[in-house]
Amino acid sequence: MSLHLDNINTLIELIDSGNKLALAPDYSGCAMKAVRYLINHKVRDLHLVGVPSIGFQGDMLIGSGCVSTVETAAVTIGEYGLAPRFTDAIKKGAVNIIDGTCPAIHAGLQAAEKGIPYMPVRGIIGSDLLKKREDWIIGNNPFDKEDSPLVMVKAIAPDVTLIHAPLADREGNVWIGVRREMMVMAHASKTTLVTYENLYEGNLLNDTNMAAGTISSLYISALALAKNGAWPVGLFGTYPADDTHLRLYIEMARTEDGFQNYLSQYVLDKEIKE
């Protein structure tokens, strides 16, 4: 029953054009290496879900033409500035944006996790976000008619979650520590694909301390080892971001041509040959 695949290529083949693909923000577990494979695979029409935001991987996928829709609370590359390919795609209308807010994205995923059609969320009312969302409806508190209306957020069930984790074991259990949103993503998604930094010797669930931060293999569809798999983004508790490379990306991705140069230098056909 091994879920382990020999290489990232085989893993990435489990993602189809048109899939709703959930991704983590830069400070969490980004499977950047797998994303480079994905770009090489020329997957199209992805509906990205940022949980609750996305960074470099989102910008790269958008720039590579893999994405038709971005559903997120933000596309942010933090202190580096604005996400260049995302900003450009918005200006050109090249990508459909579904603007959300962090707690509503978490609530939508938790609804899918629980198999319920929606989850009520406080706040939001009066925000222009609400005007553009057919998957948010204003409802009432059935226990108190005097209470404030509140937003009902439709469940978000991604086809695929793709993440990078510090550790996985031979059984396919994946350690994510306090980055618990990745557990919710796995629970809510039909398919969960994981690249991992290091193999954990033994069973993560048999160590009481590790178990508390582990996603059971029950929710993992397939996984593959990827050394330095989050590069150039950092991996929590493991290594920091490659600041120099990220600044280089920002510089190059400022223009369409520059981005294409970046792709040919660092992405296209590179990973396949590794």
Partner: protein, 243 residues
């Protein structure tokens, strides 16, 4: 005694004063100045103030994933939070989405993050934007990421408390739904603020100056705070606090 201080230090000290007596302040992404202010307030409170700072390992007690900050706010366990905005208007509406017609914004910002939620639930939301120009402080935002005020029937224990910029401090008057100029930072004038503010606001006849940080405060900022904030914002700490 004339103490030399940087503009950032004045703002840090000013914001820290707004956090006095609180129990728990949370800091979102990319917020070195609010983060420094919270750490200063914490130092002054002798540890009574808890600071939860996104990106920090030392000042982050959240263990339940991305949802915890928002749940925690809903439970009433967060007293203050900071928001910014590509645009902020005189009703304290904030725009984190973009300029121009939505969705094909001619200038697109990252997005609304948790603002549409935390602005409702955290009692003391301090708006902070260093850039104080008519481009940022507008009559009306192009997109409301989160509204400054809500109808009476809307559940809203939280909302805007103040707006701190590089030039002055505004306090938000919830009843009137408008800003009140509280103080001008040293070296800035009312004429300048009038000119650089796109929205209308109330002001007193005699406008006080924003209190300068004391020597003890400056020492605390350059010592403990600089040290602590450098864990999360090394580049900022290096730029502002290094001699």
């Amino acid at each position: 005694m004339n103490i030399q201080f940087k503009p950032e230090e004045l703002i840090i000290s000013t914001i820290a004063d707004m956090l006095e007596g609180l129990s728990h302040v949370a800091i979102g992404a990319s917020s070195p100045i609010p983060g420094s202010a919270a750490l200063l307030a914490r130092a002054k409170s002798k540890g009574k103030l808890r600071v939860s700072m996104l990106g920090s390992e030392e000042h982050n007690a959240f263990t339940n994933g991305g949802t915890e900050l928002f749940d925690c706010a809903a439970q009433g366990r967060i007293d203050a939070f900071f928001l910014g905005g590509g645009q902020i208007d005189g009703r304290a509406n904030i725009n984190l989405v973009g300029i121009g017609e939505y969705p094909r914004s001619k200038a697109r910002f990252p997005g609304s993050f948790g603002s549409a939620y935390l602005y409702f639930l955290v009692p003391r939301v301090i708006l902070f934007r260093e850039e104080h120009t008519p481009r940022v402080l507008v009559p009306k935002v192009d997109f409301i990421s989160a509204p400054g005020i809500s109808a009476e029937n809307i559940y809203r224990p939280g909302g805007p408390y103040a707006l701190v910029t590089g030039r002055c401090v505004f306090i938000f008057n919830k009843k009137l739904g408008s800003f009140f100029l509280k103080s001008l930072h040293p070296g800035h004038t009312i004429e300048e603020v009038d000119e650089m503010t796109g929205f209308t606001y109330e002001k007193p006849i005699n406008i006080p100056q924003t209190p300068k940080p004391s020597a003890a405060t400056i020492e605390l900022i350059r010592g403990l705070v600089a040290d602590e904030v450098s864990e999360t914002y090394p580049a900022f700490a290096e730029r502002v606090f290094a001699n």
